[in-house]
Amino acid sequence: MNLILVLIGGLMLTAAAVAMSLRNIIHSALLLIGSWLGVSFFYLWAGAEFVAFAQVLVYVGAVSMVVLFAVLLTRRDRQDVVVAPETRTRAISALLVGGSVAGLLVSAVLGTPLATGPAETPTLTVKDLGTLLAGPQAAGLLIAGVILTVALLGAVVLAATDSGKEDAS
């Protein structure tokens, strides 16, 4: 059974790695979307259909569009492609941050008891999920909603004021 797990894990990792190394941004964005699909396959393998389809709907549908639009609309100026001279100092700080994050993750993974085989997850129907979300988890749901709307409104205001400011000059 864990053959499929390895397969899905491998798919996701290779997609992410290749995405990082490509020069063509659109190709790397699409590979990133491929790795998100890998995550949804993982959920399917784990038997959580609802989360898998939600993952596809949210990430592959909406977030990928945002990423692609962002890639399209930013204008590539010439100067920031050239590698600036003080890269050495950047390299050190990059290593430092990378190392600490890796350490944190590894300790978290090792800390949790990992059940080897697929545990018999309770067959949750969508109705139970709904009652769970509306009942005990309602607070978390509402907070997430509020944060998202704030982010949305902030983006709109930022875009609008930007044009206003440009007008004044």
């Binding site: 190709h27 596809v56 549908g61 990928s64 969508v126």
Partner: protein, 395 residues
């Protein structure tokens, strides 16, 4: 007799899987389901193109294609041969990989969404618990493929139209979902087969319990169909490949069979969306009248699907095209508010389910009023300055 007819597809499947050893049997039945869908809907797509051209012709007082074969019946195969033999030109500047991948993905995602639509009482390829969510997950990713087509051809026109297509699809994703949520709320499940079962039963034997016959259901179906037309880039909303402005939109750089693939994907997407519409609102494979249950259920599904698609063709033959800003304004300022109000309306309908006797009429009246009044008000504000004018004559 009707029972055997009803179970006929199952009998055939069991007979075929009988030839194979036990462990491989589930694989064979899965493959058989895929082959069945491809065969039925492949042929349905072929004759849909012919039906569209003939009906469009009849709307325009002309006979439509009748030269290839009797009454033009071989026209789809002639089109297929033509598409196959046409040279497949890939522009030199294009992004070869994406240019090739885009049509395949568009058709693939179009086909995947057939997996959850219940064609008959026993005919459902995959009975998923979160079927409707699966359907929209497949639908959304076809937008991604459309963007890849527009971007890969590296051509100014197809880039503009790819952006337009995305704006249109995203802005109509919301009304589509808002129209579907009341159905899920009322039938309490995301699984399409259970939704169709929930619409079973007839009052006095002749009025079926379809969702469309309730005020919130009718409004939901109205919003769903407008959003479905926009989602499949058909007539009043066929902006991406509006020939009067941007030649053929994101399809400009495609030719030969790749162009036919896009064409096929559009029809598959339309059939799938209309199939979902029939399942959610028109009672899927339920027979309209009790005594008519003698006819097998999958026939009813096909009849209803064909009627809905005929209405799409009827709309295509009549209506003008909207401009991109009017299109998005219609989505955000008209369909989304109506969808939200309809959600509230469905909630009221659900809560007032146990009203009895005369209260039923009050329940109907309130529910209808809750949806009609905002429709008229928003309609009037949107089309404030627009009205046919009266003209004077020179002295």
């Amino acid at each position: 007799m009707t029972a055997t007819l009803e179970r006929l597809p199952l009998l055939v499947r069991d007979w075929i899987t009988g030839f194979f050893p036990e462990p491989v049997r589930w694989l064979v039945s899965g493959l058989l389901a895929i082959v069945a869908i491809l065969a039925v809907f492949g042929l349905y797509f072929a004759y849909l193109t012919l039906a569209e051209r003939k009906f469009l012709g009849r709307f325009q007082n002309r006979p439509g294609p009748n030269r290839t074969g009797p009454f033009g019946l071989l026209q789809p195969f002639a089109d297929a041969v033509k598409a196959l033999t046409k040279e497949d030109i890939v522009p030199q500047a294009a992004d070869k990989l994406l240019h090739f991948l885009a049509p395949c993905l568009v058709v693939a995602f179009g086909l995947i969404s057939f997996a959850v639509i219940p064609f008959g009482r026993y005919l459902i390829p995959v009975d998923l618990d979160a079927a409707v969510l699966y359907f929209f997950a497949a639908g959304v990713s076809s937008e991604l493929a459309l963007f890849m087509a527009g971007w890969a051809s590296h051509n100014k026109y197809s880039m503009i139209s790819a952006m337009r297509a995305l704006a249109q699809l995203i802005s109509y994703e919301l009304p589509l979902l808002l129209a579907v949520v009341p159905v899920i709320m009322l039938s309490g499940t995301l699984s399409t087969s259970k939704i169709v079962v929930a619409q079973g039963g007839w009052t006095f034997g002749i009025i079926p319990h379809w969702n469309v016959l309730t005020p919130w259901g009718f409004a939901g179906f109205f919003i769903f169909m407008i959003a479905a037309v926009a989602e499949t880039n058909r007539s009043p909303f066929d902006l991406p490949e509006a020939e009067s402005e941007l030649i053929a939109g994101h399809l400009t750089e495609y030719s030969g069979f790749k162009y036919a693939l896009f064409f096929m994907a559009e029809y598959f997407g339309m059939s799938a969306l209309c199939g979902l519409g029939v399942t959610l609102f028109l009672g899927g494979w339920q027979a309209p009248i009790d005594i008519l249950q003698v006819v097998p259920s999958y026939v009813w599904f096909m009849v209803k699907l064909s009627c809905v698609i005929f209405c799409l063709m009827w709309v295509r033959a009549t209506l003008l095209r909207l401009r991109i800003d009017q299109l998005t304004r219609l989505a955000w300022k008209f369909l989304v508010p109506l969808g939200l109000i309809n959600l509230g309306n469905a909630a009221f309908w659900h809560l007032s389910a146990d009203w009895s006797g005369p209260l039923q009429i009050v329940r109907w009246a309130i529910s209808a009023a809750v949806i009609v009044i905002p429709f008229v008000l928003i309609g009037r504000t949107l089309s404030s300055g627009l009205a046919p004018r009266t003209y004077r004559y020179a002295t």
